[in-house]
């Protein structure tokens, strides 16, 4: 077990129990929670665990704030989407689209990294925000190619027609890649990234070329995000700007990483699960509360189902101030 987890054990009974529960829940989701909606939630959890983990590699482990992560997520989605919709639903085409998106991601991440990771964190954050918004525009402008605002609906090869097979493909791929990420952050390479986060100057003085490591981390994180995007597109059989590229998803990602716990990949599991479940079920709960509060001024508005992001935002700020290592850090204490 320790070998599979790369020696990075949960180090807390409660955390371990919760993680096992989530893993079992995801594994048995099609049988435990029948229904299209809950299966959707489960698949989204799987994809977002991978996506958030890859973002944590940047934010939590290396200390880089990037706002372009959804851009790479989108590139993965569009790689599959364009290949399947324009070339036809064959395995070869999917592979082609997937490889093309990986290549594009690697190139873009490398260029952004080399150009702007030399300077300060703020600069990188601003540049990535600008580039990501440019990509979003590009996706909606090149509508002959990308389907514009409407996005692309497409068919998948025979084998993936069944929802069950599709779900287990997504789950298996996400789980395997998560373990690979766990391996990466616990390797000597991962230790260097953490030392950059803790004290870049000192790390440089020890003889590590920090720009090289940061750029490598940026590319790796982007590549994993691209795979997550491809998985999400395969699951949805759809790709579009709202589903993969929008800034709202970037904000969701930030919330998941920080609430779950930065600098530990288990935080990604907890954060993504909590967030996706909240996104889908918290609103029902809030509706009850909001109805109960009718007549009191402003309170029904505060508890309105559409305001769920408000409470997660408050939780986010609270986390950054007082629990920088999020839920996982809390549990490990």
């Amino acid at each position: 077990m320790s070998r599979i987890l790369s020696g990075d054990l949960p180090r807390s009974r409660v955390l371990a129990a919760v993680l096992v529960l989530i893993a079992l829940g995801l594994l048995a989701a099609p049988f435990l929670f029948p229904g299209a909606r809950s299966l959707n939630v489960a698949a989204k959890v799987a994809v977002f665990v991978l996506l958030v983990a890859s973002y944590d590699l940047l934010l939590g482990y290396t200390g880089i704030v990037s706002f372009a992560h959804t851009m790479f997520f989108g590139i993965g989605g569009y790689g599959i989407g364009i290949a399947a919709a324009r070339l036809g639903p064959a395995w070869g085409n999917l592979a082609l689209g997937f490889l093309a998106s990986l290549a594009l991601t690697a190139a873009v991440a490398l260029v952004i990294g080399l150009l702007s990771l030399r300077v300060r964190a703020v600069f990188f954050a601003m540049i990535t925000l600008a580039v990501a918004s440019f990509f979003q525009i590009l996706a909606s402008q090149l509508s002959d190619f990308t389907g514009g605002e409407d996005g692309l609906n497409f068919k998948l090869p025979e084998l993936l027609q069944s929802r069950l097979a599709c779900y287990y493909l997504v789950l298996a791929a996400a789980a395997a890649l998560f373990l690979v990420l766990l391996r990466i952050v616990n390797s000597p390479f991962g230790r260097v990234l953490q030392s950059i986060r803790e004290n870049e100057f000192r790390c440089e003085a020890l003889g590590y070329r920090t720009v090289f490591y940061r750029t490598a981390a940026n590319c790796l994180g982007a590549l994993f995000a691209t795979v997550a995007g491809a998985l999400y597109a395969i699951w949805l059989r759809y790709t579009g700007p709202e589903a993969t590229l929008s800034f709202a998803i970037m904000i969701d990602l930030l919330l998941m990483v920080v609430i779950g716990g930065m600098g530990t990949l288990y935080g990604a599991v907890i954060g993504a699960t909590l967030f996706v479940v909240a996104q889908n079920y918290l609103q029902d709960l809030m509706k009850l509360a909001s109805d109960a509060a009718t007549g009191i001024p402003l309170l029904p508005n505060l508890l309105h189902p559409d305001r769920w992001l408000l409470w997660l935002g408050v939780l986010f700020v609270v986390c950054v101030y007082w629990f920088p290592s999020g839920i996982v850090g809390r549990l490990r204490r």
């Binding site: 200390g63 704030v65 964190a121 920080v258 559409d306 305001r307 950054v320």
Partner: protein, 325 residues
Amino acid sequence: MRRHDWLPLALIAVLALAAFAFVPSTPTWLTLTIAGLAMGMMIFMMASGLTLVFGLMDVMNFAHGAFISVGAYAAASVLIQLKGGMQAPSLAENLMAMAPALAAAVAVAGLLGWIFERVVIRPVYGDHLKQILVTMGGLIVVEQLIHVVWGPDMIPLPRPATITGSVLIGDAAIERYRMLAVLVGLAVFAAMWLVLNRTRLGLLIRAGVENTEMVESLGYRVRRLFVGVFVAGSALAGLGGVMWAMYQESVTAGMGMQMMVVIFIVIIIGGMGSVGGCFVGALLVGLMANYIGYLAPKLALGSNILLMVLILLWRPRGLYPASKA
């Protein structure tokens, strides 16, 4: 601001002249130029506070967009009350209605800025990572609170009656509102320039941007100065927000966030922390967006990025690099 570096300013003229060569008719060019200047002035109002705050205290406030939205909403609330004044056919009455709205925007955005500085930013000085995260979180919360207070729907915000429509200058049709925007923008820039360059306060602010520790060691409280600049910057963002909302004729909670991308580009172009650079950058972005929008509409939305890349290739630290950045 270095006084003798005129090249970036010349760049504006070069851009305008280059466009003159490509745009077929002179009236169209004039229309586009005024439109570009108006857009640039509004962007400048929104961006100037942010760049100054960054230059002075090394704080990049990602929630700056929230002040833009809040200012616009505050003004919209006032204007709904003063509908009569806005629809009256006389310019004086229109301006009488607009004045309290602008004042409300400035006051509310400034107040929010003050609270924001105390509650959100003060605990995370010097930690860039946390700053970005916390201000992002603040943006989410404020945006959601706007929904709570003003409701989730877009609020239409018509322009005052006498400032709608266009005037003809020669053959060029110039929207009245754009001329107003240029005037307000110039007034803001002039006021800012005077304060920064002709007052003792401005001297301290400029010195603070140059070298915070030195100013502190001379016995001035840069922290207090910073709070003032932060509030003023937020208030300006509110003002810019109203102007922009009236230009768009609607207010949405997301408008601030949408503007942030352009604002960041302007700040990067200008050299992070420089007000003069921010002014030049804003005008360049505004002009570029309008010219390209006319000449090659497909490219229009990417023109900002293109401009940023070109400028950074020329001057990697922006047009007027502030010394600390």
